[in-house]
Amino acid sequence: MTFPLYDNGMIAGLLVGILFGFVLEGAGFGSPRKLTAQFALRDWAVFKVMFTAVIVAALGLWLAQASGLIGAKAVFVPTLFFWAIALGGALIGAGFAVGGYCPGTSTVGLFSGRGDAAVFIVGMLLGTALFAALFGSLERLYQAAEGPKGQTLMDLTGLPSWAILAVLLIMAVGGFALGNWCERRFGGPVTADEVIADLTVHEGGPGDRDHVSEPAQPNDRQVIAS
């Protein structure tokens, strides 16, 4: 059997989708408060989970290639269009900070019962339609500064894969240490208990008075703000 299977059918899509959704929900990424606390430095789960996943998958792909399980150019590598990716990446970061989600996590939020995720998704459809409407005048920006097709950090720097992976591993260890320090300093990380308890307070149901505990640690949050 040769890998990748290049199976793009329904079963493969459903299977990896279910696992993807289950893991994102488990990480707490259906909660916009937990997600956005990354940018307030109070909760580093977004950095920790993404960086760990990138390293695990990159290491796995490297081993799969080194052992001959998959070929050298067997998997899709995105191509750099510098201005479109830098500007679009900044818009996604800004929209994530204001709206609380990205496309994948908004799906997780919606199916964890969050109504604000539904509103965010309507916004995404409008943003996509706006892009399509302006596509004619955006096309030059869209194609500008195109890099070599499927360029990797190894192609760019001339370094071998193991050296790039080692640098990423060192950055991850440093990032985890810095993240842990910030989380202690700013009263994080955001827990499931805190997220759910505050939901009840905000929604104002019959059980409201049982939860007058109010937003936990207002002082800690002030620290981030200042």
């Binding site: 959704g21 994102l24 998958a57 990446g89 970061g93 204001v98 509103v119 965010f120 596509f135």
Partner: protein
């Protein structure tokens, strides 16, 4: 009534430790590469959904659109990414249900009201939808999956994404305080 109270006070299970969640996500991503030859994604589904909604609300304008028109000519359920997102929905629903973290509610910072939260969610969604079309992908497709292939494009994306996120949060920290 008694059952409702039970549900409202059912305490949620803790989120997974980030290191464990990251390792699991990395293994799911690796499995995706081995099965399909590409990584995970999300925004591609919303492009197809926009084309489908446009084809329904404004058929001639959508058909004439150089960007969305081609999507109308295919069946959206034919595409791998649509099934993947259906899977994400099932996985998230199952995960939040079994862990007691499912709640029908708006989630927002303590300093803003429900209406304000919905306005910010809409604005954020517009920015993300527009940005993802410029990038040709999103946090999942370019940031995470591209990152795993050590693509230059992914690291340009991640730097821009985090820089803008920190900047906007600093300017608008009231939203999530």
């Amino acid at each position: 009534v008694h059952d409702d109270e039970e549900e409202a006070t059912m305490s949620p299970r803790p989120f997974w430790p980030p290191l464990l969640a990251g390792i699991m996500l990395g293994l799911v991503l690796l499995l995706t590469f081995l099965l399909t030859g590409h990584g995970l994604g999300a925004s591609g589904f919303f492009t197809r959904a926009t084309a489908a909604a446009g084809g329904w609300l404004a058929p001639s304008a959508t058909e004439a659109s150089a960007y969305l028109g081609p999507y109308l000519r295919g069946n959206p359920l034919d595409s791998w990414i649509s099934w993947e997102i259906v899977g994400v929905a099932i996985g998230a629903l199952a995960g939040s249900m079994v862990s007691g973290r499912f709640r029908l509610a708006l989630e927002r910072g303590a300093a803003i009201g429900a209406n304000e939260r919905q306005i910010y969610a809409l604005i954020g969604g517009v920015l993300v939808g527009f940005g993802a079309r410029l990038v040709r992908g999103c946090t999942s497709g370019v940031g995470l999956s591209g990152g795993a292939t050590l693509a230059v494009a992914a690291f340009v994306f991640l730097i821009a994404f985090f820089a803008a996120g920190f900047l906007v949060t600093f300017a608008a920290r009231r939203v999530w305080r």
